[in-house]
């Protein structure tokens, strides 16, 4: 589908941010800051003309896939799916409530548009590779985009998938690392240092791009370039800020896995506009 012009895309990103904050504050739990860092990436995918999808046919075989491997950013995925038309925007208010398909982490059996049930970190890239190879066997030119947290790539399974994707020349597989620099208990540099990150992916045989993950133009350009990679899979390391752009309104440097209070949410929504 055709992408929105840049100004409307920026407005869409603001809408997703409002949904993330409102839905998690209303739920009283969740991971708003881990969702906020990847808003531009997801906005560009769903509304920038990158992903090929049809909300009326969520399992349409030639579709592209978006797999949220960092499943705790579910509020971001739900906001995008609602805005894309998979379900009414009003349903976002039921996040994490008993009986709601908008569970704490994505559950593909309960919500159309969810491609993988994630939440146990490290599995999304392998699942994405399975989709990519199956689509290729069936003769579809589908692309599979997998969003990984940077802390998530502590997991050894990610590197198993990284090697496999090169073996199978899965050039229809695109990984995006939300490089916000923090994981649950602290900076990635202290918990388990990932650097030098881009050279690692390069050494494993991937096409690597590093961008400012909050600059929509850079995000779009990188996604377009990755989508036409030939012979090898692509990774985009999106340098982001956790909780962007409202982190300074919160009480801790690494505000993780907690919703904003009503007062904080009010300030945050005013900032976002």
């Amino acid at each position: 589908m055709a992408g929105l012009p840049l100004q409307e895309l920026e407005a869409k990103a603001r809408t997703l941010r409002r949904h993330i904050i409102t839905s998690t504050t209303q739920a009283g739990s969740g991971h708003p800051t881990s969702s906020l860092s990847a808003v531009e990436v997801v906005t560009a995918l769903y509304f920038g003309g990158i992903l090929r999808y049809d909300p009326l046919r969520p399992n349409w075989p030639p579709r592209d896939r978006f797999i949220l491997s960092k499943g705790h950013a579910a509020p971001l995925l739900y906001a995008a799916l609602a805005e894309a038309g998979y379900f009414p925007v009003e349903a976002l208010a039921t996040l994490r409530q008993l009986g709601s398909p908008l569970e704490g982490h994505p559950n593909l059996r309960r919500l159309p548009g969810v491609e993988a049930s994630t939440g146990s970190l490290g599995q999304g890239l392998s699942i994405g590779l399975g989709h990519a190879l199956a689509a290729r066997m069936d003769g579809y030119d589908s692309r599979v985009y997998v969003l990984l947290g940077d802390g998530e790539i502590d997991q050894g399974q990610v590197w198993e998938a990284v090697m496999s994707a090169v073996k199978y020349r899965a050039d229809n597989l695109i990984a995006i690392v939300d490089r916000n620099g923090y994981q649950q208990t602290g900076p990635t540099a202290e918990v388990l240092d990932l650097e030098p990150l881009a050279p690692k992916w390069e050494a494993f045989g991937w096409a690597v791009q590093e961008i400012n993950g909050h600059d929509l133009t850079q995000v779009l350009t990188a996604l377009q370039k990755a989508g036409v990679s030939r012979g090898k899979p692509s990774v985009i390391i999106a340098r982001t800020q956790k909780g962007y752009p409202i982190m300074d309104l919160l009480s801790e440097a690494n505000y993780h896995g907690k919703p904003l209070s009503l007062a904080e949410a009010e300030k945050a929504l005013a900032r976002i506009g």
Partner: protein, 310 residues
């Protein structure tokens, strides 16, 4: 009983055969295809065969992804490695999304012999049963393994198939009346029921012969499906024969013995004895010697049966 092929070999041949009929079957391997016998499929359908290396986590999640895209993936590795190394992936990439992935654990039990305890899957059935949405099948011989592979292909939900390394006696001369979740009554008797699966089915039949020589009439059930369990067959056995001996090549915790005892307790409590690995790892040695040392022979079933009958 005539010795047939191993259940792993029967699995590999059956899968290659089904590959011709089902173009959407894909097979994933953790670099053990010459052991699990997925090599037969690999030779015939190389474009649908994926050896992902010694990386069970990626193996399982990739299969989950392929199922999500509409394929019928089968993946195989040693029971010990696929169940224990990739349990979280089985849980989140297969069981929770209820993906049509068939998981095959070969070299199950202690009858693999000399390679020793690190290679022996002794807790795989318990682990598989603990996963919601999973069907769990442990076939006895070559013909019933063929039948199991066919039946599981038609089942579009997750399943675990347990196969073994050694050649095993042929239990079924004719194609077995195999239906998932339905025990097969191999012999009738009124004094007690022997319930077994895997290579212990042949041992149970031998034990029944021996008991008959002492005037004891044993019913024998091949309980090839551990989950969903044929509770009706267990209830009938308990009601009609009053005593049960359960035999399996698996740790005594959480396998066939546990689920059958649970069903009997619910429907018709009767005295039960368990022939299984007694909460221990085994060791290296010839398969027959190991089965004897660790109490998994027809003689062990006879002894438990006689102790039940007082």
């Amino acid at each position: 009983m005539k010795l047939g092929k191993s259940t792993r070999e029967a699995f590999g041949l059956a899968l290659a055969d089904l590959g011709a009929r089902y173009p959407d079957i894909v097979v994933l391997d953790g670099d053990v295809h010459n052991s699990t016998r997925t090599e037969h499929f690999a030779k015939r359908f190389p474009e649908r065969f994926f050896n992902v290396g010694i990386a069970e986590s990626n193996l399982v999640s990739m299969a989950g992804g392929m199922a999500g895209a509409g394929k019928r993936p089968w993946l195989a590795s040693f029971a010990a490695f696929v169940m224990c190394n990739a349990y979280d992936q089985l849980r989140m990439s297969v069981a929770f999304p209820c993906a049509d992935v068939k998981v095959v654990g070969s070299h199950a039990g202690i009858s693999i012999g000399e390679d020793g305890p690190s290679q022996m899957g002794i807790e795989d059935v318990a682990l598989a049963c603990a996963l919601p949405n999973f069907t769990v099948v442990v076939p006895a011989d070559e013909p019933s393994t063929w039948a199991a592979v066919e039946a599981l292909t038609e089942l579009r939900t997750p399943a675990y198939l347990r196969v073994g390394r050694p050649n095993v006696p042929i239990v079924y001369d004719q194609p077995p009346p195999f239906r998932i979740g339905q025990a097969i009554r191999l012999r009738d008797g009124k004094d007690l029921t022997l319930i077994a699966n895997g290579l212990m089915v042949a041992a149970a039949l031998q034990a029944a012969e021996e008991l008959a020589r002492s005037g004891i009439q044993a019913r024998v059930l091949d309980m090839h499906t551990v989950k969903p369990l044929d509770e009706q067959a267990v209830a009938e056995a308990a009601r009609e024969t009053g005593r049960i001996v359960i035999a399996e090549e698996h740790t005594i915790y959480g396998g066939l013995g546990s689920v059958v005892a649970m069903a009997a307790a619910r429907h018709h409590p009767v005295p039960i004895r368990f022939v299984a690995l007694k909460d221990t790892f085994a060791e290296s040695g010839p398969p027959e010697a190991l089965l004897a040392k660790y109490g998994l022979t027809a003689g062990d079933i006879v002894r438990e049966a006689k102790s039940l009958l007082g």
